[in-house]
């Protein structure tokens, strides 16, 4: 019997959809699946976790003033991993995961592969991209404990009903020496869904002409329950914040649909979105690289086409 740990990401006490693909990937025959849930009402997420195969829910409680402290969160999970004899740990390669998982792996001196497309747990192999997204690498990991950061949306969720037991884990005495959480400033609160989790991303590039025009994209994204991304050219022009950048030096995303609007499709942009399910390119230049590296190309002015799409969506 193998014990597998899964770090669950919540959003204001609610479970994020992107967890389910990760749980599906982590499921293995003859194993116990431990879901780590930090500082939340676990009864609210129990049913969802059970429907995807979680057999143990580790209800981790931290001291109230340490809840946002990443060093304390990592230590609590690392302690839990040791306590329950867990051999493989899965987390999400989201912004939160990019801080949390390496902290845990470093503390346990466990190997870690971030941004995995898939994992073969039996053989301790993980696949991720290497060399600016230009190659796919299979990476072998060895150790008592191994850690994987799974790219959101990389794995299709499949249900597998089980029943679970709740294990209380007291982390209230965990502190972090030399590291103090001071405060959190909320980002753009109009952003309802993050780039990493969105099923649909509409990204704008230099072809958007200015920052104000990005509202055209957000209106459309809202109708599609998607997120808005950007090329570095748009970020560097000061039109949108860096947190929206997709690409080699921005977010790496795998949405079901990626709509590139006025984006030429540079190597560095492509590195961040090439694994998207379906790519639609909208450009006034039919020779733009993205127009040749997509599933559907539209030769059109994005400033005219997107409002039209939004209008149709509004009218049903």
């Amino acid at each position: 019997m193998k014990n597998i740990g899964i770090i669950i990401e919540l959003d204001e006490g609610k479970i994020k959809e992107i967890n389910f693909g990760m749980i599906t990937l982590a499921r293995a025959p003859d194993s116990d699946l431990f879901a780590f849930v930090l500082d939340a009402d676990v009864t609210a997420v129990r049913e969802d976790l059970e429907s995807y195969g979680i057999t143990k829910i580790v209800d981790v409680a931290l001291a109230s003033d340490q809840r946002n402290n990443p060093a304390v969160r990592a230590k609590a999970i690392a302690n839990g991993i040791k306590e329950y004899g867990i051999g493989a740990v899965f987390g999400l390669s989201t912004a939160t995961g990019k801080d949390l998982l390496p902290r845990i792996a470093a503390q346990l001196e466990a190997p870690l592969v971030m941004d995995c497309f898939t994992v073969d747990l039996e053989n301790n192999l993980a696949w991720t991209s290497r060399y600016s997204g230009k190659t796919s690498a299979s990476i072998k990991v060895t150790g008592d404990i191994v850690v994987f950061g799974v790219r959101p949306n990389a794995v299709e969720p499949v249900k597998g009903q089980v029943s679970s037991r709740i294990l209380k884990f007291d982390g209230s005495r965990i502190v972090s020496r030399g590291f103090k959480f001071v405060k959190r400033a909320a980002g753009d609160t109009s952003v309802k869904i993050s780039l990493a989790e969105a099923d649909v991303i509409i990204s704008g590039g230099r072809g958007m002409k200015n920052g104000d025009n990005f509202s055209i994209l957000s209106k459309c994204a809202e109708k599609l329950n998607g997120a808005v991304g950007a090329s570095r050219a748009a970020v560097d022009s000061g039109w949108v914040p860096y947190s929206m950048q997709v690409g080699l030096t921005g977010e790496k995303v795998s949405p079901r649909v990626y709509i590139g609007c006025g984006i030429s499709g540079s190597i560095q942009h492509f590195a961040g979105m090439k694994t998207s399910g379906l790519i639609i390119a909208i450009n006034t230049d039919k020779h733009a690289s993205l127009m040749a590296d997509c599933d559907y190309s539209v030769l059109a002015d994005v400033l005219e086409l997107i409002p039209e799409i939004t209008r149709h969506l509004e009218n049903g």
Partner: protein
Amino acid sequence: MQIYVCVKHVPDSSAVITVLGDNQIDENVIFLLNPYDEHAVTEAVKIKNSLPDSEVIAVCLGKDDAEKTLRSALAMGADRGILVVSDAPHESIEIARVLKTVMAQDGIPGLIITGKESIDAKGMQTMFRIGALFDFPVATNVIRLDIEGDIAIVDSELSGGAVDTYEMSLPCVIGAGRGLNTPKYPTFPDVVKSKKKVVKKIALAELDIGTSKADMWIVGLEPLVLVRKPKEITGDTDEVAREVIRILREEAKVI
């Protein structure tokens, strides 16, 4: 204060990558200083200039050729460089052990700055491993760094542009994010001046990095090409809009 900055020699992001054998690439391409490490060096030099008696030491594990990347760091203002020379490929567990050993042997780190990610390996973990080996606090994706006495006050960017502020006691490890600063690229005189700076080379075999029970290595490498055959959507704006919506609804099933 001794400020160490870790710099990695990586293939240019626009280089054509050719896979050789099972798990290697043709390294006959342009290599340069990892983009995030440019922010790391720039920040280290900025701090040095505000703290008397401080020194910036750039460290790197790489092949002999990685001296070029150390020279770039020196031209950007680092005072000297240390290159641990090894021809073998290394993953972060080992890289961190090597960098930790060489820094501890060289001096007393007051601050260690890395990039938040290397663009070739994108391990996103070297800074945390260095921190764990030294038992120093760590923050990554740092977009603001202020040193006040023996405390570092940092802002770390989370998703959706949210920002956390942390206080860390020095010595600590910082993973530089893009918003930290605008890299200060060297002028010609900077480059000339940096030629006189020292890069010390140490063979990996000369270091005792201890052993880890954990390991990781690349077993297979393949070009990541997802061949797409674009279909053109044509018609007037109304027709194109309808077709896009049909694709979203019927093919992608996202609405």
